[in-house]
């Protein structure tokens, strides 16, 4: 009996596949390939439309512009991998940013201490999200919708609605906006920090047991629990780590903006989700690679940058980004259809 089944199995795997099916199979195993292809194609198109796109100066700017949303999208990726979603991303970042700045300016704290306290606060905010999701068992969408308002309000009350300029802040807080050149490529320390963040979290997701638990909890939480995975603990840790990452993004944003302001980056939530989704991570959890998110973030920013260089009209740019999202997700859905 086993021989005939293995015959059938080997016949199945050796069957003739059309090139399209082979492509679909390849993309299924490596889901970040299709966003990479889109990225490369858009780079080529934008360079054709305006050769200044491909200069090292422009590339450096592109990386700097992508850094913040890319950083936020790491935490968002972790949350979405567990089949959740985090709508409080921007609010935690702004709160953390305002606390870091106010502690340094009004509290007179040295830069590193102010940054660490702001970071701890962001981590605590993530922890709160995690507790509400795991202890009170509320759906992540609802929890983060609520905490979005709570953290925004706290940031407003704390800052009084006013912003703090870089000139009032210690060098340490502004440091991530400073840069250096490699060849003609201008990068900031913020960009470097974000690359390191991707490397570290990417390593954890792919090379450690905890990383596997994140995927397991997102793909099939009941099976994970029955198998002995500490599901609730992992979920709590995911939200907490995400908060920490948002805090680091806040530090980088101070450097980039030259100020800490409660109005910073209003589209942070949607942009971070867009980057994750375009990067091939499934909103249903359990599937996706972190590198895909980085590619997704680059794609969104390239579109904004490239269309601007190409002189495309404002409204058409907004249209183009919307079409991009639908196309990217559509391709992704097609890939996922297991033959």
């Amino acid at each position: 009996m086993t021989t005939s089944t293995s015959d059938a199995a080997s016949r199945f795997s050796g069957r003739q596949q059309s090139p399209l099916q082979r492509l679909q199979g390849l993309l299924h195993s490596y889901p970040w390939v299709s966003p990479l292809v889109i990225l490369i194609v858009s780079f080529i198109v934008f360079t054709i439309l305006n050769p200044r796109f491909a200069t090292s100066g422009s590339m450096g700017l592109l990386f700097q512009q992508t850094a913040i949303v890319a950083a936020l999208a790491i935490g968002q990726t972790l949350v979405i991998l567990t089949a959740g979603i985090d709508l409080s991303v921007g609010a935690i970042m702004v709160l953390s940013m305002m606390v870091m700045a106010a502690l340094a300016k009004d509290g007179g704290m040295p830069g590193p201490l102010a940054m660490l306290i702001g970071l701890a606060l962001a981590t605590g905010a993530g922890l709160l999200n995690g507790l509400l999701v795991t202890r009170i068992n509320l759906p992540p969408f609802i929890v983060t919708l609520g905490t979005l308002s709570i953290f925004t309000a706290i940031a407003l009350l704390y800052s009084g609605g006013s912003s703090i300029q870089a000139s009032h802040l210690p060098d340490f807080l502004n440091a991530l906006g400073n840069g250096f050149s490699i060849g003609g490529l201008r990068l900031t320390w913020g960009v470097l920090l974000v690359i390191v963040m991707y490397a570290v979290v990417g390593f954890i997701l792919s090379q450690t047991a905890w990383g596997r638990y994140v995927y397991a909890v997102g793909d099939d939480p009941e099976s994970a629990r029955l198998s002995g995975v500490p599901s609730k603990r992992v979920l709590l840790q995911v939200y907490t780590v995400a908060g920490l990452l948002y805090g680091l993004a806040a530090w980088a944003l101070i450097g980039r903006s030259g100020a800490a302001t409660p109005n910073a980056y209003p589209q942070a939530n949607l942009d971070s989700i867009t980057a994750v989704v375009i990067g091939g991570t499934s909103l249903f959890g359990g599937r996706g690679r972190l590198v895909g998110t980085l590619i997704g973030a680059l794609i969104v920013q390239s579109f904004a940058f490239g269309l601007s260089l190409a002189g495309v009209n404002q409204q058409y740019r907004v249209l183009a980004t919307g079409i991009l999202v639908i196309v990217a997700v559509g391709i992704d859905q097609w890939i996922r259809k297991v033959k």
Partner: protein, 367 residues
């Protein structure tokens, strides 16, 4: 462990707690809804005049300053002030809810920075209910939706900085970057300042209510010009920086930068500095932080507006009407009451009146 022996006792405890909570919240509400003065009895005798101030949001420092200024002056006019706002730009419903609550509360008047024409119907309801409605900072469309508008002449604000830029260039070619507010919404402050700036420079604006439709090259009052870009900045530092970077990527020789407000200007400056470039940066707002930027040289000139004045004058007007006085009138030649604008710069240009940064710092808003 049993705290309560019987369900009857439990019900009594719940009722008592409920009553306590209700009493506490009423006491708290009474203290919150106005300025400190209003709650503590007010200066003039007699019944307080209910006024609601509704801004677009409570995060933009401009609106925060407006709210603070109104609160500080409420007592002087015997006003019971309620402050409300939408959650963010575009949140029409938040303003509509606040208007309906003002009607229900029996307020005598509403001061509002209207979000869009989506709130017009609610404003109409308020006026029909007898409330006097004053628009602040931004006239609604159409302007007669409200009883009167107290506003900065944003067009004038743009013109002043345009004239200043033209005068400062002294005939040099103007390579211009225009950092607007949005690209996915059309608001009057956005096109009035942008087009006002271009008019001040003597550039043909084609459709005066539309950004970005001008000829890319041509002549300004002092010589040749080239418009490199119209980029949205969202009125904040990070958006200003990204917008400026995109413009510089198109043309690294930009020497004039128009910015919708001072936070955007700060961001634009950061981008220029990172590239080692310099340009004339002009802006509008005149907040204290912005005036500081003029003093430090980051911004060449900014048009200063007076949000606190708008709110205070508005409250005074409603109080006056409630006490039987005359209604306010529009400024000459305009269809709104002009609360004034002044050019703040430390590098004055002949033919354009201005005040220095130090003078601007004395009357600036925010901090």
């Amino acid at each position: 462990m049993q705290f309560v022996r019987s369900s009857a006792a439990a019900r009594r405890i719940v009722a008592a707690s409920g009553a306590c909570a209700l009493a506490l919240s009423l006491a708290a509400c009474g203290g919150d809804s106005g300025s400190g003065d209003a709650a503590s009895g007010g200066s003039g005798g007699g019944k307080k005049i209910g006024v609601t101030l509704i801004t677009k949001d409570s995060t933009n420092p401009f609106f925060v300053a407006m709210q603070k200024g109104a609160q500080a002056d409420a007592g002087k006019n015997n006003v019971e002030l309620t402050i409300a706002s939408g959650k963010q730009e575009g949140d029409d419903q938040g303003q509509i809810d606040a208007i309906e609550q003002a009607i229900a509360r029996g307020d005598k008047g509403i001061l509002i920075t209207p979000m869009s024409d989506g709130v017009n119907a609610a404003i109409k309801k308020a006026r029909e209910a007898g409330l006097y409605v004053i628009a602040l900072d931004t006239p609604p469309d159409p302007a007669d939706t409200v009883d009167i508008t107290f506003a900065t002449d944003n067009r004038e604000a743009g013109k002043l900085i345009g004239q200043w830029a033209a005068g400062t260039l002294k005939g040099e070619k103007a390579t211009i970057a225009l950092l607007d507010l949005f690209n996915d919404k059309i608001v009057s402050v956005d096109y009035n300042r942008d087009q006002g700036f271009l008019e001040g420079m003597g550039i043909d604006v084609a459709d005066g209510k539309k950004n970005g439709d001008e000829a890319p090259t041509g002549k300004y009052s002092g010589g040749d010009y080239e418009i490199v870009c119209n980029e949205p900045s969202n009125g904040a530092e990070d958006g200003g920086r990204t917008a400026m970077e995109k413009c510089l990527a198109k043309n690294s020789n930009i020497n004039v930068v128009y910015t919708i407000n001072e936070p955007a200007a700060v961001g634009a400056n950061a981008a220029l500095q990172a590239e080692g470039k310099k340009a004339l940066i002009v802006s509008v707002d005149g907040g204290c932080a912005g005036v500081g930027s003029v003093k430090s040289g980051v911004i060449g000139a900014t048009s200063q507006q007076y949000p606190l004045k708008m709110a205070t004058l508005g409250m005074e007007a409603i109080a006056k009407i409630a006490n039987g006085g005359a209604k306010p009138a529009v400024s000459e030649g305009l269809d709104f009451f002009n609360t004034g604008v002044a050019l703040v710069t430390d590098k004055p240009v002949d033919g354009v009146s201005s005040i220095t940064a130090d003078e601007g710092a004395k009357i600036c808003w925010g901090n």
